[in-house]
Structure formats: C-alpha cells, structure tokens
Symmetry: D3
Subunit: 294 residues, 6 copies
C-alpha cells in the first residue's frame, strides 16, 4: 500500500469523524471509560466483601487503613467519572471550567458513599436468599464467589443508587458490565425488594420500570418486559410489578406496565403473561402435545 | 509426588501431544492468538469511535497523528495475524518462508483498511437505529458505551469484512469474542442490511447464511437457524432471509434456508417459524392456556 | 464532605463487617481468588493445547522444558488454592498451622495432575464431535479457538475432576468462569460421556446430578434441570439422565431426577419434558397455531 | 539434557538451600521485598510532591481524598514491611503469631507518618539550596524532576527517619535504592543539617556516623569515610564531622571519626584529609607537577 | 493511631502544600512526567535502532508501517510533553486555553522529528568510534546493546536537540535519565563533535558550556567542569573546550571556560588542569611518591 | 506538519536503516533483548536466594515444585537467548533453519545449568566476606538485599560462566546490567577468587584480563585497568593480577597486564600503580601538601 493511499484512507476517516454531528469527543473532556467503571465496581465490591477478590493479606490491625484507603480512592474515581458524565450536556468548550458540574459531582459522590453500608446490608440479604434458595449452595463464600445471580444483583443494587441520583451514562455502563459477565440484564431503574435471588440467570431481562417485591426468586431466561416500545412512552411505567414471595421459573415472560403478579404466586416455566395475576396463584402451561415417533 | 512420577506424567502428556494427528502447533508458526484478535478489535473500535474507549486526552492538533499511529499499528497487527491464519494450510516446515501467504496477507490487510470508513458509516447507522428504537436510550454516547447489541453488531460488521476476504479462523474468533462479551452469536457470514438493532440480545443466534434486510429489529433469544445440520450441506443456504423493516420479538425461532420473512412483518415472542411468511404479516402465538390454581 | 462524616461512614462500614456472623475473611487465610482460578484454568488449557493461547514460539527442543515448567507451576498454584478452600471449614485461628489441610491439598493436587492426560484425551474426543457435528466448522483449530461449547466442555471436564475429589468452592468457581465466558452453565457435578457437543450454547443449564451418555449433542437454551428445589433434597438425583446418541434442539427443557431420555432419541426445539422418553423417540412440539394478520 | 540429570541438578540446589545455616527464608514470613520498598518510596515522594511523579490530574476538590488515600495506603504498606523486618530476629515458627512485632510495627509506622510534614519541610529547604547553589538550575520543578542530588537527599531524609526508629533492613534498602538511581551512597545513619546540596553526585560516599551541619555543599566523588574498618569498632564514631557552611569539591576524601572540618571552610577538589581543619579554612592541593610533552 | 490524629497529619500536609509559594502543581496542567520522558526515549531509540530493544519480529513488509506507527506515536507524545513544559511559565489558570504553547509545541515537535535521521547518522558515527576504540568490543551489536558510553551519548545527542530548541525541563530530564542508567552526567547544553567515545564512564561529568571537537575519547571519572559556580555567571562559558582527537584518561579534571585542550593532545589519568594546553601535548602526572612498607 | 513532510522524514529514516552496512536486524532473528537478559538474571537470583526477591509465600511442600518450575523456565529462556546470540554470525537468511546453533545453544544451556549450585556456593562465600568485612553489616539478609557490591559480584559470577562458554553478547549485557544498577563495571572475562568483597563500589572498573585471588577487598572508585588500548592487543593480558588477601582502598588505580600486586598487600586510597608490588606491601601516597588559608 503506498503512502498516498494510506493518507487518503486516513483523511477519509478523519473527515468522517466530523460528519453529521459526529459521535466522538475529541477536544472535549473524555467520556466515562469502561475501564474506570469496571475499576470502580471492583473497588466497591472489595469494600462490600473485603478479602473476597484478591489475595491481599489483611490483618485486623490494617483493616481500618485499608478501608479508609479504598473509601478515599472510591471518592476520587467516582467524582471524576460522575463529573465527566454530568458535563456532557454542555458544549465542549464550556466543560473544562464548569463549576456546576464539579459541585454536583461532589454532592452526588457524597450521597452514594453515605449509603454504602445500607447498600451492603441489602446485598447481604440477597446472599442469604441465595444460600437458602438453592439446594446446591453449600456456603456463603460459594454464593459470593461463584453465583452469577449474586454478582448481577450486587451490581444492580449499586447501579440503582446512581440511577436514583440521576447521573447519566454510569448506571447503564454498570448494568451492561454485569450483563456481559453474567448474561443477566437488569435495567438500573428497576426497583427490587429485599431477598432477591436469580438462579443461573442467563437471558434474564428486567426492564427499567419493573417493580419487584421482597423475597422474589427468578430463574434463567425470565423476561420482565414492555408490551410496546414507543419512544414517546419512555416516561410511563412500561414493565410489570411482581409482588412479595413470587417465584418465576425459567423462560417465563411477563409483559406490560399494568401487569401485576400478586403475592405468593408461582409462575411456571415458559408461561407467557400479559395480564395481572391474582395473589396466591400457581400458573403453569398446560402441557403442549408433542408428537412422539419411535 | 516423587520426581519420577511427575516425569512419567509429563512424558504421558508429551506423547499425547503427538498422538493421532494432534491438535497443537509446536514448531510451526503460531496460530492467531485470542489476545491479538482482541487487541485488533480494540484498535478498530478506537479508530471508529475515537475518545470512547479510554481516558486519553486527544486535542485537535494531535488527532491526525493519533489516527495515523493507530492505522499503521492496525496494519501491522492485522498483517501478522492474517499471515498466520492463511499459512496454516501449508505443512509446518513450509510456512516460515511462504512468500505467497505474505503477499496475500498484505493484499487482504490493504483491502480491509481501505474499507474502514465505509464500515464506520454503516455502524453509525446502526447506532442511529438503536437510539431511535429503544425508548430507554437517551444519547448516542449511551448507545455506544453500554448497548450489547451495538457491540455485537459493530464486531459483526468488522468480522464480516474478513469473512468476505475468505480469511480463515479470524472472522470466527472475532464473532466468538462478541458472543462472549454480549451473549449474541452472529456468524460472520451473515449478511445484514443497514439500521440493524438488537435489544438486550442474550441468546440471539444468527446463522452463517442468514440474509437480513434494512431496518430490522430483533430481541433477546431470537434464533435465525438451520433446519438440518448435515455436514454435506455446508455450502447451501441453510438459514432464513429476513426482509426490510421486520421486527422479531424475544425468543422467536425462524429456521430454514428457504424461509423468508416478508418485509414490514412483525414476529411475536416465542413464535416458531419454519415456512415463509408474507410481507406485512403480524404473527403472534395464540395464547397457550395455562392453568391457574389459587 | 468533611473528614468527620467520612470517618463516620468508614466506621459504619467497619462495624457492618463484623455484624451478624459476617461474610468476610479478615485475619484468616484468604479465600481462593477468582484471579487465581482463572490463571489455573489458563495454565491447564495451555498444557492441553500447547501453542493455542499465546504467541510463544515453542520449538521441539524447548517443548519438554516448557511443559515441565507449566506442570510444576500448575502444581504450586493448585496446591495453594486447594489448601485455602479445604481449610475454610476450620476456625480462622486454626488455619495457619493446619497440617491436615496441607497434606490433603498435596494428595488431591497429585491426583488431579496424574489424570491430566486422560482428561486431555476426553477433551480431544469432544473436539472431534464438534468438528464432525457442525457443518460450519472447518478445522480443529477453529473449534478450539472459537467454539464456546468447546470452551465450556473443556472447563467442565476439568472442574468435574475437582468435584470428584470433593474440593470445596473451586469446582463451582471454575464452572462459573466458563458460564461467564460462554453463557453455558454446567454444574461441575454433572457426569458427561464422551463426544459431547454443545452448539452456540448461550443459556444452556445442566444441573448437578445430570447424567449424560456418549455422543450427545445439545443446542443453545437447553435446560437439564430439577422439578423441585427443596434444600432437603440436595443429596438425591434431581436432574435427568440423557442416554447415548441423543440430540436435543434449542430451548428444550428436560426436568426431573427420574426422567430418562432413551438412547438415539431426538428432542425438538422448545419441547418441555418431565417424564421419561423411550429410546429411539423423535419428539417435536405440535405446531402452535399462530394468528397471522396481513 | 535428560530428565534424570535435571532432577539431579535440582536436588543439588535444594540441598544447597538448607546447607550451612542457609541464607533463605522458606517457610518463614517473607523478607521486606525490594519492590515494596521502591513502591513505598514512590508513595512518600508523591505525598511530598503531589503532581510531580505521574500524569494524574488532581483538582483542588480531589486533593484531600487523594492525599488521604495515599496516607492510608502508606500506613498499610509500611506496617507490613516493618513487621516483616522486625520479626526476622525471631525463629521462623514464632513469627506468624508474634504480637510484639505487630504492636511495634504499628507504633513505628505511626511515628514515621506523624513526622511526614516535618520531613517535607526539610526537603524543601534542600530544594532551595539546590536552586540557589547551581547556576544551571532554572526552576524548582527542574530541581525536583532532574537533580540526582535532590533525589538522593530526599530518600536519605526518609531513610534516616527509619534508622532513628531502629528498624532493621529497611533504611539500608532505601539508601541502596537511592544509590542505584543516582550513584550517591549515603548511609541512613548519617546526620545531615538543613540546606544540603550535592551536585552531580556520582561516587559520593557518606558513612554511617558522619555528622554534617547546615548549608553544606558537596560535589561528585566526595568520600566522607572511615580510617579503619574493624568489625569491633562498629559502634564508635568512625566518620568525620562537617560543620556549617562548608563546601567540598569533587573527589575530596575526608576520613576519620575525630576529623572535623570547621565551619565556613572550603575543601578543594581531590584533597585528602585525615585530620581536623580549622573553621574558615580554604584547602587546596598544591598543583601536582605534570610533565608536558608536545 | 486514632482517626483524629491521622486527619491532623493529613491537614498538616495539605496546608504544607500551599505554604511559601509551594512546589506542587495541583490544579494546573501536569508537569512532564519521568515516565513519559523515559517512554519517549525508548521510542526514539527504537526508531534509531529498530529490532534492538525488544523481541518484536519485524519483517520487511511491516517495517514501513511499524516505522510510521512509531513516528506518529512519537509526535503525539512529544507534543504533549513539550506543551506541558512550555506552558509552565504561565499562571495555572491560563494554561488550559493557551494557544501559544500549543502552537509552539507543534513547531518544536516538527523541528525535532525533521532532524531525526541526521541525529541517527551522528549516533552511528559514535558507535563506530566505540567499536574501533575499545579492544574488547567485538561487534556493533555489542556496542549498542551493552556500552554505557554509547547509551549516554545517544541520549545526549537527543537531549541536545531539545536544548537547542529552548524547551524547558525536558532536556535535563533526559540527561538525568541517562545519568541514572549509566553514571555519566552530560549536561544537554554541551556541544559534542562526531566520533565521541566514553569508556566505562561512571563518574564522568560534562558541563553545560563544554565544547568538544571530533574524535575525542574519554574515560571513567573525567570531569569537564567550572572553576566557580556563581549564579550570576550562569550565562557565560564556564566549562572547557576540548579540540579534535583528544584522549582524556580516567579521573582527569579539566576546569574553566577559558581552558582549551589543544587538538591531538592526551591527558593522563587523574591530571588536574585549569589552564589551556597546547595542541599535541601529552600530559601526565609526575608519579606521586608513595611509601612502601613490607 | 503536512502528511508529505512526515512521509519524507519516514523515507529518510527507512533508507538510513539500510545504509552503510546497517546496524539493525530487520528480517533476521531478533537480538537477545535487554528485557530478556534482565528476566533471566532475576530468575537466576531467585534460584540462588529463594524468598529474597518478592513476596511469594513458599512453604516446604511447594519449594520443590517452585524450584523445578524456575529451573525449566530458566532453561527455556536461556536457550532462546543463547541461540539468538550464537546465530548472529550467520547471514540472516541462514539463521531460521540453523541446526548447529540450536544444538550448540542446548549444550551450553545445559552446561550453565549444571554448574548452578557451584556458582551459588561461590556467591555464598562472597556474602560471608561482605558480612565479616563491613562493620556496618548486621545480617546476611542485609548484605543480600542492600549491598551493591554483592549484587555486582553475584551477576559477575553468573556472567563469567557465560563468558567461559564463549557465548557472544550475553555476558557483556549482563555485566552492563550490573553496572547500571550499581555503578560497578566488571568485565565478564575477569577471573575472581573466593571471598571477594567490593564496598560502596561506585566507579569500580575491573578489566577483561584481570586476575584476582581469594579474599580480596576493594573500595569505590578502584580501577584495575590497561595501560594501552590498542585493538591489536585485544588478545593479550592487559589488566593486572591481584593476589590473595589484598585490600585496595578507594580511588586506587592499578594498570597493566604484567602488574602484580603481591599477596597480603594493602593499597591506599588514590594510589596509582603501574608496576608490580611485592607481597605483604603497604602502599600509601605520601601526603600531598595542601595549602591552607584561614
């Protein structure tokens, strides 16, 4: 390839960058990066469950300093990413000196950090639910180290805090991180009660306006979704409500913002639900006839 | 374990390496490595969307040099991996000096690089489709940074270029990279039109000879597959054709090389299709009766 | 945030660590770490398929030393993680000096390493099955480098060895590693015969007490699960038996510890099975009527 | 090399490890590592001169958290290395549970950290001395970033604190780190007054019991050493005293514990001094006759 | 250490940062970092001597792209560091938007890059001088890979270019990098002719206004320095001139801006020279009488 | 800088690569790299002193496997670098297939590895010498971790083995590594007896044909060099012989291949010796008169 050709290709690409409103951020402050978001989640998980992620040998004497180090580190990294995410709404040349976004990022970082122990308490309840809900689970350690549902719910509880703080981009980047690692796709907007347990979990989708009660258990491939996906309906409740003590087996689909699954109900595998279900219901598909040829 | 026992185990393993035709490549040139393929995709993504992947602070003055640096780096890495993939067909002792594979790798690398801006243009259309197709999507940045469907389609558009260039191994390694990150499994051979959007996406499977029109939208768990999987049919069209403006909801299965879903059709969730469907159809499963026990 | 507030948050978190039985391991020996388990799997894979993972240029002269290096490294790392996992049952202050766990870890490491070539032989049969079972597969290299089913089965064969050795935590950490990378969730307890092939695989779930014969092929979204999930039934066979030469298509669900799919049977896509199936059966869902509106 | 030969070599080496009292620490707690000491120095330097070592972008809002993070990190790392260094005096099997060494390490870490700002103040005076003492120095930044004397004195001021706390090994590891980076070898025991400046510095040696006043300037190749090096004299003052405002030019050698260079003196290049020198002296070698042959 | 005490220490440190004009750069753009300067030198060396630094396997086909990649990378990194160094003279709040410094950095980066081949040509002459000047040197490869004098002179030739471009900080950071690696301290201002060779080199000091002719050879411990070091004389020639074909043996000291060592002269080991020397002189110390006691 | 100018610069550089015999190795096998040599030395040091370099926690149970792992790793890395160094003498196109160099590299690697314990034994004697020779040394650990002389002599003992095996490049790369880290420059050819101790060491130069007896101690700045440096004398003994039990103080210079310092002698600081010295001599400079001006 001669040099002229390569330069032509390069120029083509460069002019493509500035075409049509563009999608890149050259010259403005960087976007929050996937790497930073993943590091932030790692730090939060390590504050939640010290000693679980790596081999570091923490004795009691050091625990206080290690915790303080991680908290301050978390503050710094969060502040920086939140500031970037918040400031994207401004024109590029206004971002560097934007005092509003700095101030707002500081406040929101503080709010998140203030709630850390509360979030941890909730996550411990989820771990309890997994341990008591899966016959194969033999210890709390096993649940935390190897249950994808546990990982997805942990990250959701964190992402949901940022969602409530109305921080752009970051909650979705977190939920997508969890999705990539576990196959479980929970929109950070979903409101989920205590003792939530997802088993196996691949293919689970839980939409933005879903509301889930306490002590709910769901299996792989369950969708809690919307009936219609019109842009103009972005602000209404589009996803179902699941009340306390409901179990939903693998592959079930529950759709619609007005659909309520009443408390203590059981939804069988592959059941398709678009209307509300009374409390205490047990809903199973009638067996599909299949043909057997020997 | 005494030293003799360990040596015995080692010898067992060593002799196993050379047994039965073997599957390893000792002494010959290396295979393309998963690490290199992942680096190459990272570089291409960063050429597509500068400023999106990491924190690097690129000002306008530097953009040209940064782009040129990445383009040349991409050339080098691609050339090396393509050369390895191409040369595997030769006997190991012929590979080092194989001028044909060098020449061929160079030509194919040039062809890919030449099309880079065209591929980028296509990917931007996909991003538009995602932004307008999902009520929850609030910005182009969010789509690029956190939509698994966007990631899978981006990598598919890249892998498909290598597929068209008939390069062995590399296109499949790329599609498997995307599959691992997103749960979306698109064979690099699939031909996909503009404005393609996959929402959530876990469990989506799109086969090698699938043909997809413009402005198609599909949801998680959709399979576009083959009816039969006989080795001798590897070269015929085994997967369906989806025409323009079709929407396919979650969990639908469409099978067969002669199956055509006509334009403007909607395929409902979990529908199972093995025959062609007229344009403008709306196909939904009749509700399965389920038994309710309160 | 003033310093007092941050200290308050920190103290809250610190006291939360020691509350209610706790879930952390401060002061005791570390847990096996996810990073170590992933490195161990990488080393085993590289012993299984030398030359496949990275670019290292191994000539015949060096192969013996490289293999010996990796074997000894594997011994060291395995021993350390097994010792940690084994010793968790003891009170923290008894762990450091626990000679029993050292001895037991040594014996179990030796047993695993002794079987390495046998495990490799089994994995090569799986690769054969993939190569002959998928019309799109064009070479053994492609299967090993880019088939998620191959990766999941390889890791399962390894994790199952640790399961048989009754080592806590580690087998499940390995299977979850595979799940995260491939979307395929095989409990390390499952007994799987030779020539096993999973195509695409996202969403596959195979339970702990599943028994699978030789030459079985399954597709994405297949569940081999339990009918009931009561903690007190953890020790009975809860998952089905699949006999030799069975093919199970995408999305099928087979449940129950007494359910046997007889040999040479084919289970169609999305079929739901909770009772045993005779040998040589071909089972397909009767087509669901769907409504078409043009 | 056949396997037996390699095992023989290995066994030779293994038995050599345990021979003659040995010099290794297998089975006991690790020694302080060179890597840790270098990281600790990096952290301290970055607390001394924030913004000088790397590219991190610290705004005022974040400075407090960043500083707190580093301080806590420093505490943790220091504590761990000091504990290891302190505990070496015990028999290996007594180390793990040694409460005395933990307590002592904690106290000494606290003492060092408490003095951090005082040490910084002293180092800033040294930087002033360099800036005013070298005509080529054009800014404080240049002095801190590129003056080897500055680096050596900074590390000495730190190492000397650990020396005063009677911590084994660590002070000497720090001074050797400085020696390796700059060619300047200052024993951590040396007592050095304010405004100390070493120019160029390669080959400078300053012994353990040297005492140096304020405002002293020395050049490359200067030795402040001992006259005799008998092991039994390890506890007496063996190295010279240099009083305030003395300048010592390149290559001068000043030896002996009773040798005092009186204040305001200048010692010329290559001068060899083994007896005390009055205050206000200017001492130069009489020119050596050299023969010139044209 | 209780939390209050640590906060007190932290506040002490924080207030120390802002005291007395300070020496840190919080809130302004970062300083050029030592890490970046070392990477830049690595890149330049690898452009000078491709294939010498790492294991990368460059074939002819790739050389062009690799070179272009490195050149563009070099441009980017240089531009960024030069911009930082240039902008330090401005008040912190004026730096971010300083167009002058961007423009100036761009021009100076271009000038350096334009001269790259000329600098390389000069360095090759130095390598020739080393190869022919040292009986122990057996190949050009050995000289480039293992001669400290070669490394120091290479870096000096590079640093001198930046010195001529009047870029602050960076030239001195480069020369200190060389000093740290080799013990050879050459001020970037020194003007040095072709075919320059330093053997062993530890302790060599060459001052800012030194002028050295062609084909000069010097040994370890040689000082080419100033007689007096008054700040007000910073702009006059303070260091000696060494004419063509001069050899200076180990430990010799030559001082003063008016001191000229005439061409073809030889200066013996440890000779001390403060006055000019005629061309063609051979100057050796008369032997010092030493006392021998058997 | 416009694209044409950059291409011009690039072409200039590219054509410079091939000019005048060239000094680069494009297209041929790589040179031994500095990074590899440094890793090899790290591995050897860690085999010599297990537990000294990093934090790895080796218990007795694992020591055997760790040692075997390192030995095999060392074999592999050494073989590869020795093969590269050996094959440089061939024309580039003959290197890849050169069986002679493979065979020779294998034999030489084996020879080095066979002597490992012998070399370790010698190094332990040097450590003893340091411990007993320096009043400031308080433990074997301190000597190994922080004495530059110890590091330089350790690396010399290793490099000398490769020198004796007549391997090109590698011995000198090792000695230069030591020189860079310690300021001590020992040519790998020097023959050095047991119990050798260098204190401080910056500036020490020991030439290729130096012969040193047992129990010799030298200080910083000592040169054991050649009188004349003519290329044609490369093969004769050019450097002095130092017999048993000699001590040489700082800055002394001893030159010439016929110069012998007889056993039990002491050479004072800065003494300049070009003729042989009787055994049992004590040689000190007569004090130089210096002028004192108060």
């Amino acid at each position: 390839m001669d040099a002229d050709k390569l330069i032509e290709i390069e120029n083509e690409l460069l002019s493509s960058y500035s075409k049509g409103g563009g999608v890149n951020h050259i010259g403005g402050p960087s976007l929050p990066s996937r790497e930073s978001i993943s590091e932030i989640l790692y730090t939060i998980e390590s504050l939640m469950f010290p000693g679980f992620q790596s081999d570091e040998n923490i004795d009691q004497c050091i625990l206080k300093y290690r915790t303080s180090e991680k908290l301050n580190q978390l503050f710094r990294k969060l502040y920086q990413e939140i500031k970037k995410a918040t400031c994207l709404k401004n024109a590029p040349d206004k971002r560097a000196s934007c005092q509003d976004c700095s101030a707002s990022a500081k406040v929101k970082t503080e709010e998140f950090i203030t709630n850390l122990t509360k979030v941890r308490d909730k996550i411990l309840l989820d771990a309890d639910a997994a341990l008591s809900g899966d016959p194969a689970a033999s210890s709390m350690e096993e649940v935390i180290l190897s249950y994808p549902g546990m990982k997805a719910v942990t990250i959701h509880r964190i992402a949901h805090e940022f969602y409530k703080l109305k921080i752009p981009l970051i909650p979705r980047m977190m939920s997508e991180y969890a999705h990539s690692a576990t196959g479980i796709d929970i929109h950070p907007g979903a409101e989920i009660g205590d003792y939530f347990f997802i088993d196996h979990g691949t293919g689970v989708v839980i939409g933005e306006t879903t509301v889930i009660g306490s002590n709910v258990k769901i299996y792989q491939g369950v969708t809690l979704g919307a009936l219609s996906v019109k842009k103009e309906e972005a602000n209404v409740k589009r996803h179902p409500t699941i009340e306390d003590n409901v179990t939903i087996y693998a592959g079930a689909t529950i759709l619609g913002g007005d659909t309520v699954v009443g408390k203590n109900s059981t939804i069988g595998g592959n059941v398709w639900i678009v209307k509300s279900v009374e409390p205490n219901s047990k809903i199973y598909n009638k067996p599909i006839d299949y043909s057997i040829k020997n």
